[in-house]
Structure formats: structure tokens, C-alpha cells
Symmetry: D2
Subunit: 391 residues, 4 copies
């Protein structure tokens, strides 16, 4: 077995299958997609990529399958799925996925097409794995698929620790080794062994704190919303086919923006960190029910409406109304007195953390600094946001 | 300025006053008192001492007073108080403090006597500081005393991070630099600046998680309760004067136990990690109100009563009914929209964390392995604990 | 002062001048230039950028000027120079600098033109700094310029630690705080105080070990030599002006290679990590004097000659004959018994480390896997390399 | 398997045999013997114990035997030997071993007697291991005994990293995982695989740098020499039997010193860090051949002679003339082109590091501050040290 040195897990041992998968263009591309996309504009050290994250997830999956003593076939399928789980991600990860889903009709966790069309599928077959089964596992389906995508999956275990290491923010530093030791298969499903409620809670807490300080930082959100806006233009105007768009790297997407007149300014602004500012930044209570957590099309429509009222170029209005972060971890299963139960039934913290997630939710409307006042007024009117409520 | 290398804060700069204080026997003694006393029986790396912790607290206080731009006199008083804040601790820290308080009538944070009687007072005076004022600061009284002992003091900021570093448990790794940057003096009191609720919450969360996994680990609690029991014997039997007892090091207390017939077995058991086992380990709901969180004298009385019923030697019964951990951090002040408010009014998490603290509370009754059954039965009867409720 | 969180130094305090400099396009560009260019092909976590490194160097310079008590003007000049010291770097850092120097006639440390032509100069002037003086400091000239570029500069102190953090290789973890504390100004020059020979040696050792394991790793060298080769084509064929070339980001250079027929293959190979292999990999002793450490033009000529003899396309031969790494640290000044001396006169290690550097030196000739044998034979003949000597 | 959390290696898995060995008094005693004895007087965080170090060495041995695929019997013997390798250490580790050897005629690595006389032997036998074979392994004899005590043993791999973690000094942070991966058994002996000279050198370098900054720090040496002096008195005066002495903990030895009139002052001085000062501190070149690196009896004789000449109490003179640190690592075996060779034949650094070790060597003569001048003069005369040569 070869080894590769990782800044988080130290040496990672690679089986021949993993090496062969890594040698494909689809996996090498992930070297050029930052794990935290625009977060580096706030935390300058956050330049780690989906490639190293993929190695980390593979490593944790390997440890998990050994610890659980799974049979070789299932173990290999889980390892492979862990390694390729992010191969379907577009450029800038989550920040272009709404645009891609809208135009391509496909979520990044649905990678059947990718396995079918590329070398990834060929390599999997070569090593005796069924590409469709691996794709299902990436999507959390099939036997123990929840190890790769579920309430307490190895994806999350890696990214919390890795994002902490690279931002310098300590909150993500969960005890993933403890979580792995606690894993059990009960009636074909993953559960944490008795006495580990606190361990499960800690992962939930870590994500809540990382949401507040890192993942939902307003500067990163503004840049992300601008990316989303520019992506829509590029795709709606037919400049790039969605299939091609979805396979770009971060830098290639910025270059594509730059080359197209109607998106060039977005590229320059992101590259030079000359971002839009917050015209509106409103808590959940100040926002009408029907504009909180809205979808892609309605966001676009509201942007047009606000631009209209404000009398500004439509590109000068970016609406950003995310859903309240859910907490999949709260559905993690824990054995208590021999019975499998959900963390949310057991933990006194889940409710508090959910409230906390609602608390940090904000509706944002962003605009260039010189149109800020016009957009603020128009947005307040159109969205019926109570701007006296304070941010 | 001289510097000293610390495993947590790297180089710590020492002013001449700090050097002189460190040169006293009262401070050097802290090299021989473990910060986490019996926790090393669970986490073998947890051998850090109150000496290095004192350096760390001094360092954080120094950074805080510089950051706040305090005038030299107050700054020096706070620095000095930070450095000597643990000088009053008895051997094994918190685990003998009930016995010392009972027999000496004095809490370890009341160090007026110590400053008056020892070289510490002389050194303080030499450097133009008023020992009584420093003593008041250690107790959290006087101008900005809360920096040393308060809702979010530098003591806590150091110990959470240090205990995490030395146990290997990541949960204590708070962002203390962020907390220090957020400190403001508002109307003569400390508050965290606007926008830092999440930062304050993180400290509260860190302590709750460290309580669950480290500070209240049952093995450490058993050893601690045994120490408490043996201390009572030594003091009640007049073997050692309480004044002398309170100044021992960890090892000297074990040696004192060993030399006295009625406590020798406790010493051997602790030293060889041959501890009592749990006869009773009951949740809050299974325990009658009047035996939850009981005081020193009542604990001793119940032990005698249980031993009587069980027909065992009184030393074979150890009752451990702690108070539910309070969360002083929830009273931390945070500025919101220009107004100073308490964290508990602002944070959705405080209630959840309080519930969590109640959740991990346990009443313990401990006994030697060969008397376990007898003691279990007698304790259930005497304490009216519902033993069917499960641990 | 604002602060920014760094994964290596934790919070870095930014003066207004630093913030203004960072807001320029010239500095923001460094977010897209990896500090270790192709090393990420070996150490997948090594994705840190020259932007975060620049922040780190600024931070260490700030600490140094405070510690040395320098007057405000000089202090500000050193801080500014530290922050912008890498602004002149081309894409992929050192791996394109020979091509740029050849075609542009300018080294990346000569940034007068950059300060004159861009917003950087304007900002410096705004804050009362003379751009030419800052440029001289970047180049190590003028008062205490050696703090930024010299035998033991803050550039090196940062990159050793940062590269260790991001590769996961521990050897670079020097005690930079100790080095900073040891700095003194003696007769206008920097020297380390008495008793710090071991501290100075440690930096020298760290770089030697990092050279062996990271900086001169053969996979990274192959990719780097391929970049150099492709750069030459792009520039020699006039596809890009050298001025434009020097201002690209890493990704933009790869894109430029891709768009030009004669360099497209290089781009694909680097991107997909489908690199040339080693046809020749020879120790110093197996290589004639006149082909060891050769310059740019001679390298190109030899490549053509080898290709000719081998009967392969000239692009299929890449010659890589670096100079033996020098050790600037060995000229660091240390005070011994009141006298300033060079580390190399004091240290028993310098000779050993120099021998070590020669020991790890290798001449490389690289070729596509399917032309390996032909190129090996031709290269051995043309370069007169003793291929029996073993690698 | 149970696990225990370690601050250096995270979770350590314990086989039942290891758990049973740890449950003995002989192993529990190591919780009260500091790994770096008096180094904590310089680096206040260096309070880690031989207990946690023993766990670490066991862990690395476990990884090594798995990686080498050894058969179960040999693997278990190596694991057991790794775990108990320090059980024979006296109080304060190396700093009393000369006194113990002189009076007991036994080195701490000879633990046959310990395995024969205590529960350790019983447990080993219970788990099918031959105590004598384990004892031989601890001493580096028998099949692969060099894994536990040899040129590059797991003992060293653990202590370098652990001492770095706890002192905060980075130099010991070697890449032990890389060393373990490189291990091979060639003709029944351990060797590092081809291409790992730099890895082997790094361990050698790490120890040289740790010697200079930590292990041979003068404050620690003074305290150590005082311990040695007091130990001699206690043993020579028959206050304690050497067998009993050798089994004390650190604190028990200090207590024993305190209780005996002729050693009480040493105890107080060490406890309060009120140490002797350096009367003589001379480089190798200033010291006659026959007083460099002298043995126990001659040291005692010289102390008496100096005290006589100086007209001071014999206890007021402490002579400390250590041997030049050898570098066992330089005899580590490395495979080169299929042949096993010694590191010293391969490495350009070994000579430099040896010179470095001679360079930091110092002869020390220590005395109470108020007798310093008298002792200095007398010592210079008796030892014929050239005091003009500078320290």
C-alpha cells in the first residue's frame, strides 16, 4: 500500500483501487476546487481543496469499515464511495449548486452519470465494483450508505476537523476517533454505542458553531450570492452548457465570467474582494414568512422586482434568503439501554441548537456600495422587511 | 523581561514582579499540585500543574489589561491577582476543598491570610501593591475583579484550553484570543462587544462538554470522593492541623494518609488505582430531592447510616452527591445594540446546556468490590434511590 | 486595528496601512498563487497561498520591529515591505522565475516597477512611505532590509512553519518566537544575541530537512520543470508578453498553456498529474562539472540536442539541473562574547548541512513514459552522465 | 479492546495483557515519576510521566509489529517489553541512576529481578510470556530487541515527540509514522528501507537539538546534580536501603531527603527552586582530559577535595562532569541499494552532529550563592580548569 501525507490525519494508506481512482481526471480536478469556496475571503488560510478532503473521507471510511469488521465487498464499496463522493461537485462547491440543479436538473450527490461517462466508472468496474451501487452509496442509499451520507457520516467528520485546521477556528475540532470507535451496526443500520450521547452532541455543536463563525459568515455569503447571480446569467444566456459548467474548476468559472460581458464585473469584484455590501441584513422575525428560505426562481424574480423599484441595473441587486440550517446530526442513532434511539429524543441540547440556528439566520440583500441606499429602500418595500428591528 | 516557554501559550513574558512572586515557596509549591488532581487516573496525560496554569492565567490577564488600556496600578493588581489566584488551593485542588472549608472555615479563594503570612505579601508590598486589594481581586471583588474570577474570567479561558491540550480531549479548545479581543469595560464592568454572543456561547459549551467527558468522569469522581473521605478522617481525628493540611502537596497528602492507620488503605488504593466501585449511580430523577447536592456533614452522616445498615466498616461507604454544575458563563455580559445584557437573556443555548448539565448529574455511592452488594442494598434503602431507573 | 485569523499565527492585527495595501488588486492576486506551487501534487494539503504567507511575514515583521523598539518610520517601512515582498512573484512562484527573468530581465524581488505602476505605490505614498525605499527593503537593501530579505529573515521564519503546517511534515516547525526574541540591532545590523547559536542552527537544519522532503521532492521538480519548459515556449513564441505573463495567477497560466497548441499537452499533464518520468536521475558525482547547475539558455540548448539524438519531439525532453541549494542562514550573525560573528564560523553543523545539501542534489532529465528509453540513452550520451553510478 | 486517550497519539488500544500489566503497582508507580524529572524547573509544562510515556511506547511497538507482520508470540513479547521498559527506573529517572547503580550494582534496564519479584512477572506468565525473555528484550537483547532498545527504538520515537509536546519546544517533533512505515526486518535485524536516510537523520538531529535546548539545560542539570549528591548521602549513610530507594517515587525521594538532617537542605532547595549556582561552567577545551566525563566515585572524591581547599562544607560543592552524549541513532541501519549499512557511513550530518554534541558539553561545578567565589577558586585549582577560556 502506498501512503500519502495529510495535514489532518497524517499518513493515509491507499489501496490500489484508491490509487487508480485518484489517477482519473475527475478526481484530479478536485485539486482545483476549494473545499470552502469563498470562505478564504474571510479566513485567508482556508484554501484546502475537495481533493484532500476526499482523501480524508476515504481514510475515515477505511477506519470505520475495519472497526466494524465489514465483509470485503461492502467495505470496498464504502471506501470507493467515500473517495469519489465529491466528484460531482461543480466549481465553488455549494455556492453554484442551486444554479446547476436549476439548469441541469441534478444534485451533486447524484453521480450515476459521472460514473457512467468517465474513467471513474471504468476503474470501479476494473476493481470489481458496480458503479451504480457506488453511486447509490454516495447518495446515502443502500447498505450502510449512511456512513458516507447520513446523520453522522465520515464526510462531516472530516470536514469539521479539516475546516478547523485550515481556518484556525477551533470549534470544528471534534473527537472523530471517538465517534469511529463508537460506531456499531444494529439491525443493518449505523448507531453509536451506549453511553455516547455526549459524543454525538459534540458533532452537532461543532457544526452549529462552525455555521455561525465560518460557513455562514456574511462576507463569504455575499461572495457566494454574487457567484450564484453570475452563474445564473451565464447559464440563462446560454454562454455555457450546464454540463460543461458543472465540470469547471473554480478558476475556470471566474475566467468564464470574465470573458462574458454581462458577468465580467462579478469576476473582477470577487477576484479583487471588492464585494457588494449589505443593503438588508434582517433576522428571521423581521422577515415575512413567504420570503424566508425561498427557492431559486423566486429569488431571481424578487431581484428583478427590487431592481425595478430601485431603478438600478438588475445585476446590482442580489437576494440571499437561505433555508434555516437543518441539523441532520440530530437524527443520529444512539443505543440506549439496548434500544436504538434518535439523538433528538435523547439530547437536551438539540432544541437549543435548533434555536441557535434560527437565531443566526439572516436574510441578505446585497448591492454595490454606490447603490446601497436605493436598493435598501426598494428591497424593504418589496420584501416587506421590518428594517427597524435591527440586524 | 524574562520569558518562559509554555506548552499552551508558547512564550510568556514575565515582569520583574511576576518573577519575584514566582520565586516564593507559596508559588513553587503549585508545581506539585496537579491541575486536574485525579483526572490523570482516566486521562494519563493530564499531569499539568497549578503552577503552569498560574503562568497561563497571568499571561492572559496581561494581554487583557494591555488590550483594555488599563492604567498601570490597576493593571498590575490584576496581573498579580491572576498569578497568585490558585496559591490558596489545598492538595488535589477541588477534591479536598470541602474538607478544608469544613475544618478551616475558609474557601481557597480567600487568600488574605496567605498574603499576610507569607512571602507573597512581602513581594507584593515591595512592588507597590496592597496585598488586601490583590486578595479581593482573587475573590472577584473590587475594580474589574471579574477578570480574574467572574462569568468569563481568564482563569477559565486558560484551564479549558490547557485541560484540552493535556487530556487530548478537543472540546475545551476555545478561541481565547477572540474572547480577549472582544473584552470591553462598560460603566466599570467587563462586557463582550457587540456581535460576540456566539463567542461567549462557545466558552459555555466548552465547559459543559469538558464537564461531561473530563471533569465529572466517574473514575475521577470516585478517586476524588475517596480523597475527601480520607481527608475527613485525618482532620476529624486530629492527625493533621487543618492549617498544615491546606498547605500540603498532592504527594504529601498521600504520604500523610499512608502513615495513619485509619487512612492508609485509601492511599494505597488511590496510588495503585485500585478504586472503589459504583454501588449506586443514579440520575437526578431517581434520587429524592433531599439527597441531591447535599453538604459535607450530611454526606458523612449518610455514610455512617448506610455502613450501619450494610454491616460494613464505615470507611467502606463513600457517598458522592454533588451539586448540579452551575454555569457562571451564562451571566457573562454582552453588549447588544449598545446595551449590556446577560448571556442567558440572549442565548438560545443556555437553557439547553443547563438541561444537559442536569442530565449528566449522578449520585454516586462507592464501595470496595467485595462489599458492593451489601452497600448497594443498604444505600438504596437509606437514600430511597430508585435503582430500577437505570444508570 | 482589525484582526484576521490565520491558521499558523492565530490572530494577526492589521494597521490601516496594511488593510489598504491588502485591498489592492496586486495583493488580492496572491490569493490565487499557491505558496508551494506544484508541491500539492505530492503533499495534497499544501494549497496555502502567497496571500496568507504575506500576512504571516507582516505579522512577524510587526513583532520584530516592536521587540527591537524601532522608530515609527523605519518600523512602518519594514512592515510594508514584509507585506508586499511577494507581490512581484509570477504564477507558480519559483517555478517560472527563470523564464520570467530571461524574457523580462527582472527578478521577482525587484518590485520598483510594480510599486510605480500599480495601486501599491499610491497606497504607500498615502501612508507617508517612499515606494522606492520599500522596494529596496524588499530586495534586502537599506536599513535593516535584511529583516525582510537576509540570512535569517521573517520571510523564511514564516514559510518554514507554514509549509510544515500545511504539508504535515514536521521538520519546518522552528521556534520562530525564540528567534524573534533573540534579535538585536548591533551597529545597524541584525544579529542574534549571545547564547543562541543552537537557535540559529535550528533554522538552518529546518530548511535542509524541508529541502530534502518537500521543496526538492522529485514529483514536484518534474512538474516544475515541465512548467518551465512550457513557459519558455509561450514566451519565445510570443504568445504572451512577458509583462502580462508575470502577472498571471496559477490557473491563468495553465489556461494560457491550454489555449496554445504547442503547450496544451503540458497543461493537461500537469492538471491531471500525468507527469513525465525520470529518464535520468543522477547524483553530483555522476555528472560532469559543466552540466551541473546550468543556466536557462544552456538548459534549452541541451534539451534540443538530446531530442535530436533521441529522435523525439523537442517537447519530450526536459532537463533539470538546479544549483546546489545555498544556505543563506549560515551567514546569519550571532553575538558571541560581545562580538558579532557569522554562524558558519561558530557552528559545527554548517559543513555537515552543506554536505547534506550536495548529497540530495540530483540532475534530472524527464520524458513521457513512452519515450523514456530513447531519451535516457540520448541524454546519457549528450550529458556524459555516468548511469551506472545508481540514483 | 479498551482504549485510553493520550495527548500525543490520541487513542491507544490496549490488549487485555497490557491492561493487566498496567493494573500492577509497579506500573501505577510510574504515574508519580516525571519523564523529564527536573526539566520542569525550566519548562514548567514538562510534567508528563513515565506512565504515559510507557503507554506511548507500547502503542508505537504495537504499530511496528503489525506493520512488520510479526508472528503473535514475538509480537506480544515486544509489546510487553515496550510497556514495562521503564518499570525499573528509580525516582527522578536518569538523575539518580548513577547513585543506584553504584549502590545496587544494577542498571535500570536490567529488570529481571523486578519481573521475578513483583506482579509484573506473574501477569506476564499468565499471558503466556516468559519474564526472562521480556527482560532481555527490555535490555535490547534477543530477537528484534533493538525495537525496544536500540539505535532507532520506539522508546526514542515516543519521548522525542512527547517531550516536544509538553515542553513546547518544537525540535523533537519527528515524523515517527514515517519511521515506522520505513521499518523492515533484514536477516533478523531491523533496518530502514531504501531511500530513508533523511528520515533517519531527522531523528538524530531531533535528539541533538533537544539535548541542547531541553535535556542538558543548565538549570535542570544543576538540580539533577544536587539530587545525585543528596542521593549519595542518603545511601552512603545507610538511611535508606538501595532496594527501597530504587522503588520510590519522585515525591517520596524528596520527602526522604527532607527527613534526614544531612540532606534536608537539598530537598528544600529543589522544591523551592532555590538552586546552587554555577561556580565553574567550562567547555571541553578548557578541561583536562582526566576530569571530563568522570565516574561516580571520582566525582565524589573531587567534591571532597574542592570543599577542603575552599574551606566549605562538603555538601556545598557539586561536581557535574557528564560524558559527551553519544548518538546511538548514528548506528541505525538503513538499506541502500539492497545492502544494510550504518547511518554514520551514509550521512554527511553525523560528524557535524557529533561535533555539535561536543560543542554543547560543559563541565559544571555548583555551589550555594554565598560560597560561589570560594568554590570557584578552589575548583579551578583542583580540576585545573582554564577559567579564562570563557563559558
Amino acid at each position: 500500500m502506498t501512503t500519502v501525507k495529510d495535514s489532518v490525519h497524517d499518513y493515509i494508506e491507499l489501496r490500489p483501487m484508491a490509487e487508480a481512482l485518484l489517477d482519473t481526471a475527475a478526481m484530479q480536478r478536485l485539486r482545483y476546487v476549494r473545499q470552502l469556496s469563498t470562505v478564504q475571503l474571510v479566513y485567508p488560510s482556508a484554501n484546502h481543496t475537495r481533493f484532500e478532503h476526499s482523501l480524508g473521507v476515504y481514510h475515515l471510511a477505511s477506519r470505520a469499515v475495519e472497526q466494524l469488521g465489514l465483509e470485503a465487498d461492502l467495505a470496498d464499496r464504502l471506501r470507493a464511495a467515500a473517495l469519489v463522493h465529491d466528484a460531482g461537485h461543480g466549481p465553488f462547491g455549494h455556492q453554484t449548486e442551486a444554479a446547476i440543479e436549476r439548469h441541469l436538473g441534478r444534485h451533486h450527490d447524484e453521480i450515476e452519470w459521472l460514473l457512467a461517462d468517465t474513467d471513474l466508472g471504468r476503474v470501479l468496474t476494473e476493481y470489481g465494483l458496480e458503479p451504480q451501487a457506488v453511486a447509490a452509496t454516495v447518495d446515502g442509499r443502500g447498505p450502510l450508505g449512511e456512513l458516507v451520507s447520513g446523520a453522522l457520516d465520515v464526510d462531516r467528520m472530516d470536514y469539521l476537523v479539516r475546516d478547523a485546521h485550515h481556518t484556525g477556528v477551533p470549534y470544528g475540532t471534534i473527537d472523530h476517533a471517538r465517534l469511529l470507535y463508537a460506531l456499531r451496526v444494529v439491525d443493518g443500520e449505523l448507531a453509536l454505542e451506549d453511553g455516547t450521547v455526549a459524543t454525538a452532541e459534540s458533532a452537532l455543536i461543532a457544526r452549529t458553531l462552525m455555521n455561525a463563525t465560518v460557513y455562514r459568515h456574511h462576507v463569504s455569503r455575499i461572495a457566494g450570492a454574487m457567484l450564484d447571480r453570475a452563474s445564473e446569467r451565464l447559464l440563462a444566456d446560454g454562454v455555457l452548457k450546464p454540463e460543461r459548467f458543472a465540470r469547471l474548476t473554480d478558476a475556470e468559472l471566474l475566467a468564464a465570467f470574465e470573458e462574458y460581458e454581462r458577468t465580467a464585473e462579478f469576476a473582477t469584484r470577487i477576484r479583487e474582494r471588492d464585494l457588494y455590501k449589505r443593503a438588508i441584513w434582517a433576522r428571521r422575525g423581521a422577515v415575512p414568512e413567504d420570503v424566508a428560505g425561498i427557492g431559486y426562481d423566486r429569488t431571481r424574480a424578487l431581484e428583478r422586482e427590487i431592481a425595478d423599484v430601485a431603478g438600478v441595473d438588475p445585476a446590482a441587486v442580489v437576494v440571499d434568503s437561505p433555508t434555516v440550517p437543518s441539523s441532520p446530526e440530530s437524527r443520529a442513532k444512539v443505543v440506549v439501554d439496548g434500544e436504538v434511539r434518535r439523538l433528538e429524543e435523547l439530547s437536551s441540547l438539540v432544541a437549543g441548537l435548533d434555536a441557535c440556528a434560527r437565531e443566526i439566520w439572516r436574510l441578505g440583500v446585497y448591492a454595490p456600495e454606490d447603490r446601497l441606499e436605493d436598493v435598501r429602500e426598494a428591497a424593504a418595500t418589496v420584501l416587506e422587511v421590518d428594517t427597524d428591528a435591527g440586524p
